[in-house]
Amino acid sequence: MKATVDLQRTAEPAWSQKVERWYQLDETAYGFCEALHQWEYLKDLKKPDVILLALEGASNLADVDFVQTGASSPAKFVYTLPNICVSVIFQMLGTSGKVYCLNQGATTYKFAKTEAEYFAKSGKTVWFFSSSYKINGESREFEFEAFDFYEAHPS
């Protein structure tokens, strides 16, 4: 499931009450919140045993934003870790759990997706979240996929 998110923040988002200081979110965390708002069906899925997060470029965008705004803003610095957006995802979903934030250079996306399949084959329910930093105009693509044991072992 993919969602194309408009990164222009022109109004308070519909999900603003769910997230701590929504107005300070970095681009990646904001994008996942918008995408999760579109993926309302996630609340009906079986909760995952593990979440895999794949961000090509890790937190590079937030890192440069922190530096280019004077390297003194705590609100910018808190987003300079690639796993931070999972905390925001959990605020949107109202849940918690086990998370691996995986990086493997240019093959991060492919690697993490293959890992999700391995975990599913071992009997785990896996949620996979991903996004690259590539933008098209003012929009960026975010991806979600659920993997479970039964899909990994079709009858």
Partner: protein, 370 residues
């Protein structure tokens, strides 16, 4: 899973023995900074100026050489399935973040570190290489990931390389958060006013079933979304992580090596979590390492694990020697300055908390053959 070999470099110097010398002798390795705060830097000689990538490679090769692997294991590494897991929060970000670059096309700051190293050892059968970056709990999550890979029967050995090196990016960031101590790091003291940052690199070799006498009995984590920078203030997050382990293993630690950063929120959260977990063990002693060698971020869990391995071998704990007395509002049995070591040391719990709501715990056990 079993620990077959380990070593580290910290502000105390090169080698686990140097780390333990500092912890046992009460040596705070921090240096004051011009603009306030304190940092525990790895001692550096007169070598030519190196960038972060070069420093990572230098420490990694030196640690690798120091492991002293047996001929049997060296042969095994060529024939069996080996993973290389790099645990780090910021990798080599300092090498490029301050310059003008096309950041949307730039690779993550981790891949270059482990790929350059593993490429230098093509004879080893690397079947999986990646970075795990879950904030300051990255080491624990790398161990948990290795545990999952062993359970899935996908690897026979795992190297966990855990490292973060302090540069202006990290220092300015923590300073902006106002969590860096301006005086001295005093975990679990009433007067605690924050953490001190530290450089470190650690290399640990794990095997699923090659017995070594040092066993990671279990490791588990729980990430939640209550706050981006604060841990679960009720202690619930760490309690859940420890409880996940107790479903599969009997937890009765003789000692806790706490995350113990020296910030008000971290130490309070851990105290509450330990109280909930160990109602029948209110006297279980608690210690930590960060007062001596700093908070080493993505390496901190690995450094604490190495310190725990050493104290089990030595049958002697270290104490929180910058903490004269514990905060009276905290309830656990903290090994403050001058406290004696518990006599019986067989099982150690190592906790870890990280930004992004990460809570993790690892159970280390000494088996009789050690």
């Amino acid at each position: 899973m079993y620990i077959l070999g380990y070593n580290c470099v910290t502000a105390a110097g090169f080698g686990a023995d140097k780390l333990m010398d500092a912890l046992y002798s009460g040596r705070d390795c921090s240096q004051s900074q011009e603009d306030g705060g304190r940092i525990c830097f790895i001692p550096r000689g007169v070598e030519p100026k190196q960038n972060f990538q070069q420093r990572f490679q230098s420490y990694l090769h030196k640690l690798w050489s120091s492991l002293g692997l047996s001929a049997e294991i060296t042969t095994d590494l060529k024939k069996t399935r080996v993973a290389f897991l790099f645990s780090s929060t910021k990798g080599i970000v300092e090498d490029y973040v301050w310059t003008e670059i096309e950041i949307r096309n730039h690779e993550d700051p981790f891949h270059a570190v482990y790929s350059q190293f593993t490429d230098a050892y093509p004879e080893i059968n690397w079947t999986l290489k990646c970075n795990i970056s879950n904030a300051c709990s990255s080491s624990h999550l790398a161990f948990e990931y290795a545990q999952d890979l062993f359970a899935q029967d996908r690897i026979d050995y795992a190297f966990v390389f855990a490292s973060d090196l302090i540069g202006p990016f990290i220092y300015k960031g923590f300073f902006s958060l106002k969590v860096a101590s301006l005086t001295t790091c005093q975990p679990f003291a009433a007067s605690r006013d924050g953490l001190q940052l530290g450089d470190a690199a650690a290399l640990i070799l794990l095997s699923k079933d090659k017995k070594s006498g040092l066993k990671i009995a279990d490791v588990a984590s729980e990430t939640e979304g209550t706050s981006i920078t604060r841990p679960s203030m009720s202690g619930e997050g760490l309690f859940k992580a420890i409880s996940k382990m107790s479903q599969s293993y009997k937890i009765a630690p003789d000692l806790i090596v706490a995350h113990g950063t020296g910030t008000r929120f971290n130490d309070q959260s851990e105290d509450l979590a330990f109280q909930k977990c160990f109602t029948s063990y209110p006297k279980v002693p608690v210690t930590g390492t960060k007062w001596a060698i700093g908070h080493t971020l993505g390496a901190s869990g690995a450094i604490d694990l190495i310190a725990a391995c050493e104290l089990l071998k030595n049958k002697k704990s270290f104490s929180l020697q910058n903490t004269p007395e514990k905060d009276p509002t905290l309830k656990m049995n903290y090994l403050t300055k001058g406290s004696s070591s518990p006599e019986h040391l067989k099982q150690v719990l190592i906790s870890s908390l990280g930004f992004g709501g990460v809570h993790a715990a690892l159970l280390l056990e000494k088996e009789d053959q050690l």
